[in-house]
Amino acid sequence: MDHFPGTHWGKPRNDNIDAYGTYPLHAHQPRTDAFADGVQRTQQPVVTGASVLALKYKDGIMMAADNLASYGSLARFKDIQRASGDMADFQQLKHILDTLLIEQFVQDDGHKFGPTEIYEYLSRLMYGRRSKMDPLWNSLLVGGFKDGKSFLGYVDLLGTTYSAPTLRNWVWRYIAQPLLRKSVEGREDTLTEEEAVKILEGCMKVLFYRDARSLNKYQIAAVTEKGIWISDSRSVETEWAFAEGIRGYGAQTQ
């Protein structure tokens, strides 16, 4: 008979881990390390999201992300909200963060996580997972506003972190960063909301022109004193007439 509610009750006995029902069970669960099943092949992201941009402006932080989730080079899902790296890992991240926030809500002790605390937690989580050779395949931009101060931070699947007035994510998408730097750096405290939207629209347009893993359908989010605002999906005017004159790519014969 089992007389130990705190350690056993409600937890099924697991013969795989503990064939002899040792006491207390939870203290004897062996940790499995990264090499328990032999060395695994390098993992890779499957369904991925691409461009995410963020910048600081007068009232806070503004971010933009398109609605595409790609399966390799196939534009697989075209109405996804906020993508960055592997979509499944991103959903897992959202779940972990949600759990953390519920724990905090239930405590009901008057403390609240600000953007810096969330960012620190995420960076430790990302670094912890890469150290287990099991990274969450995302790069994250964390933007927030608390106590009159805006915050913008970057963390990726290696646990690398940095802060800057403008950020864009993912390894080879260097296209938008120079544009953002040129139009934002040094003007973070004077940029208005309209100007910030214009800059992001410009960047999303260039990204759509030059990045084959992007979609001309995106959302903009602003984090200010008033809270978080996320726009509906929108798109920018594009001009493709020039493409007619281009020769030398693809299947043309002349």
Binding site: M1, H3, P5, W9, G10, H95, D98, T99, I102, E103, F105, V106, D108
Partner: protein
């Protein structure tokens, strides 16, 4: 008197009773009253926290706790048992989220807590919980209210009362048209009932605890905000004074 049949909850008396569970109910009956109202668009929990010493910091030892964003629990009985059960309810709620990746309905949490509490009536090595817990939530099916008793039994209610003043509180709850009240109106009724059932001659001081879940809280379980609390508290007290003069 009970000839040894009350020493363990794993022993029945010859007439089929489990005395340890009945004693646990006594522990609940000695506690300050807790009530729950399930109304049109939300749930209100209210509690009479008896203050046994003037030296205590006001607002400590709260007996209404939050289990999940949308679930609250009010316990009558042993304070520590209430904390333990709330902590277990929180674990169950997270476990439900891990498994089903969605917000747990209160029925699922009440069922799991019922099973957990019942397990403590089966063994000689443990004692039953000395609490009755009122669980309130607004979930996907709307407002919900459950009471889990020391035996592990649990029922759904429109209005529930446990603890010292439960008889009077139940009579008052029965007079209300609960399905027609708004959550805000229910806050006032709850405060009024708590003042009414408080026995001034036996217990001197008490702190009122009020929490609500509804449209006005965006479906979150939150303490009633200060201004509304004070208004409801004052109205409840005034109603009692008016009653006395009659």
């Amino acid at each position: 008197m009970n000839s040894g049949y009350d020493l363990s909850s794993s022993t029945y008396s010859p007439d089929g009773r489990i005395f340890q569970v009945e004693y646990a109910n006594k522990a609940v009956e000695n506690s300050g009253t807790a009530i729950g109202l399930r109304v049109k668009d939300g749930v209100v929990l209210a509690l009479e926290k008896l203050v046994h010493s003037k030296l205590l910091v006001p607002g400590t030892n709260r007996r209404i706790q939050t289990v999940d964003r949308h679930i609250g629990i009010a316990t009558a009985g042993l304070l520590a048992d209430g904390r333990h059960l709330a902590s277990r309810a929180f674990d169950e709620s997270l476990n439900y989220r891990e498994t089903y990746r969605s917000e747990p309905p209160l029925s699922a949490i009440a069922e799991r807590l019922g099973l957990y509490v019942q397990a403590y009536t089966l063994y000689s090595s443990v004692r039953p919980f000395g609490i009755s817990a009122i669980l309130g939530a607004v979930d996907k099916d709307g407002p919900a209210l459950y009471v889990v008793e020391p035996s592990g039994i649990y029922y759904g209610y429109n209005g529930a009362a446990v603890g010292k003043g439960r008889q009077l509180a139940k009579t008052e709850l029965e007079k209300l048209k609960l399905s027609e009240l708004t959550t805000r109106e229910a806050v006032f009724e709850a405060a009024r009932i708590m003042h009414l059932v408080h026995d001034d001659s036996k217990d001197k001081e008490f702190e009122l605890e009020l929490s609500w879940i509804g449209a006005e809280t965006n479906g979150l379980h939150l303490p009633v905000p200060k201004d509304l609390f004070e208004e409801a508290d004052k109205k409840g007290r005034d109603a009692l004074d008016a009653d006395m003069e009659d």
